[in-house]
């Protein structure tokens, strides 16, 4: 498949849209906007998975898409919104690195991902290659978000969007065994549950969901 064919083009475009949402995640300042952007990303991911299922003729991918949609576009954002409202958590994302700087770093990471993946996978079909490059960018941007945000909810979303990148990669590789996607999706849910438990407990013990407040509790002070 090359450019100009619908299956390729749409898959590519959806991958790009997921990546774009990763940038939106980095760009937002308010936590509710971040959660909404994450929900959109989840929905786009589900769309990408479903489209791949249609193109590859694998029904299992529809299941992946459904799980991704249910968990990432609906359930987790809903839970996070509730968490923020119920505990009256801080509404800003409290970036450790400025928004502009993290966007620049994000573009650099995305460029890096392409420089790394595209030459290394020269032997493969264009679709898989570029999908992998996009997916790696999403993964790295998720990591960047985990690093550059002090707010707990943003860190969790960074991790979740990183998992989005993984699923994007997994659905893009034709014939990837289904076990993987199902388990990944299920595990993401578990991760969120655990993170939610954490968040609750920390909410109790600190009255704030800022990991900065944990720094003083490290095993060894100065």
């Amino acid at each position: 498949m090359t450019f100009g064919q619908l299956p390729y083009d749409l898959a590519h475009l959806l991958g790009g849209a997921v990546l774009l949402l990763s940038f939106v995640l980095l760009y937002q300042r308010r936590i509710s906007a971040v959660i909404n952007a994450f929900a959109t990303q989840g929905a786009l991911l589900a769309l990408a998975a479903a489209w791949q299922g249609y193109v590859q003729g694998v029904t299992g991918l529809y299941v992946t898409a459904a799980i991704a949609f249910g968990a990432k576009a609906v359930l987790i954002p809903y839970a996070l919104h509730r968490l923020v409202r119920r505990f009256n958590l801080q509404r800003g994302v409290d970036p450790a690195l400025g928004i502009g700087a993290s966007l620049i770093a994000g573009v650099a990471l995305a460029g890096f991902a392409m420089m790394v993946v595209l030459p290394a996978t020269a032997g493969q079909r264009a679709l898989a290659r570029e999908d992998l490059a996009l997916a790696l960018s999403v993964v790295l941007l998720g990591g960047l978000m985990m690093i550059t945000r002090r707010n707990l909810i943003s860190q969790v979303i960074g991790l979740l969007s990183l998992e989005n990148g993984l699923i994007l990669a997994a659905v893009g590789v034709a014939g990837m065994p289904l076990v993987m996607e199902l388990s990944t999706a299920a595990l993401v849910l578990m991760l969120a549950v655990i993170a939610g438990v954490f968040a609750l407990q920390m909410g109790e013990s600190f009255q704030s969901l800022d990991t900065e407040s944990l720094q003083s509790h490290r095993g060894e002070g100065e």
Binding site: G4, L6, F23, Y27, G106, A110, G111, P119
Partner: protein
């Protein structure tokens, strides 16, 4: 023959754009008012304002120099020339070989330059404030536009808008991630260039927030009419540019007959209406952002353009 058709197309196009521009502004204003629950001015009110103001003598400040007198004409001339280059209902106009994206960007920059000069000429605080803000935004918006032009250039092999439209019309390039990024970046630039919400509010006269209005605060009479007309023209131009680049279908091919033109014209009208409607809805739905966040907004557009270019560069360079 072909030159004659080209000339005819060009003249029709220019007439269309000039006539349409204030109508479009009026329509957007009217739609916004309806969406907000007001009755709103008649869509033709913008035309009436311009015509009325044209008859009035401008009042200039005592210390106004020749710049204040010349700037409106300069800005309008640049805008008209730029508008003449962007294809609307048909390709193959006589000026098509010059319809370079970089040239269009330059003409728009020229008109902005004239406006900033006019803002600063009299030495009032607001004019200077508006001019500095406008220039600060432009410093990010223009590179973003150039990067988008670069993306087009890599994909189509040229920065000529007429050719690009033709290539996209054939659909040989397909959907591209980079094009998606370019579209988002171009939309952000368009919003900033036309002083629309969330970057600027075209209807405000609140000193703290205005950018575009601050620069023409001193203008009156004929000059104000020219400024207003120029603003409308820019809006039309940008919407036409977006339509030409990303919604190229329905446009008449070079040298096509009148029937194709009529179809192209209808399609163009529909596109303009759709884009205007989208703009009105968008402006009604969101709030204006703080002035200090605008550079971030435009910076994001710039980065998106850069990302699209890098992506394209790497993928075409390797495949």
């Amino acid at each position: 023959m072909s030159i004659l058709t080209g000339l005819l197309t060009q003249l029709l196009h220019l007439a269309l754009i000039l006539a349409l521009a204030p109508v479009l502004t009026g329509c957007v204003r009217w739609l916004k008012a309806r969406l907000m629950g007001r009755r709103g001015p008649h869509p033709l009110q913008a035309w009436r304002d311009v015509l009325k103001l044209l008859k009035k003598r401008p009042v200039l400040a005592e210390n106004a120099s020749a710049i204040s007198r010349a700037a409106p004409y300069m800005a309008l001339a640049a805008a008209v020339l730029a508008a003449a280059l962007v294809p609307s209902f048909a390709r193959g106009m006589v000026l098509a070989p010059f319809a370079d994206l970089l040239l269009i960007a330059g003409l728009l920059a020229l008109s902005r330059f004239a406006m900033a000069l006019a803002g600063m000429d009299v030495g009032t605080a607001f004019g200077g404030l508006g001019a500095t803000r406008e220039m600060a935004f432009a410093a990010l918006a223009e590179p973003a536009l150039v990067l988008v032009a670069l993306i087009f250039a890599i994909l189509a092999g040229t920065t000529n808008l007429d050719v690009i439209t033709g290539i996209f019309q054939e659909g040989a390039l397909g959907l591209r991630v980079s094009l998606g990024f370019a579209a988002v970046a171009l939309l952000a630039v368009a919003v900033a260039e036309n002083a629309r919400i969330p970057v600027d509010n075209p209807a405000t006269h609140l000193e703290l927030t205005m950018v575009h209005e601050a620069m023409i605060l001193e203008a009156s009479g004929r000059h104000l009419a020219l400024w207003d007309f120029q603003a409308s023209l820019r809006l039309t131009l940008w919407l036409a540019l977006l339509a030409a680049a990303f919604l190229p279908f329905g446009m008449a091919a070079p040298g096509a007959g009148p029937i194709a033109w009529v179809i192209g014209l209808l399609v163009f009208m529909v596109k303009m209406a759709a884009l205007g409607f989208a703009l009105a809805v968008f402006e009604s739905a969101i709030a204006k952002m703080r002035v200090f966040r605008v550079p971030e907004f435009l910076g994001a557009a710039l980065l998106l353009g850069l990302l699209g270019a890098v992506f394209l560069f790497v993928s075409t360079g390797l495949s």
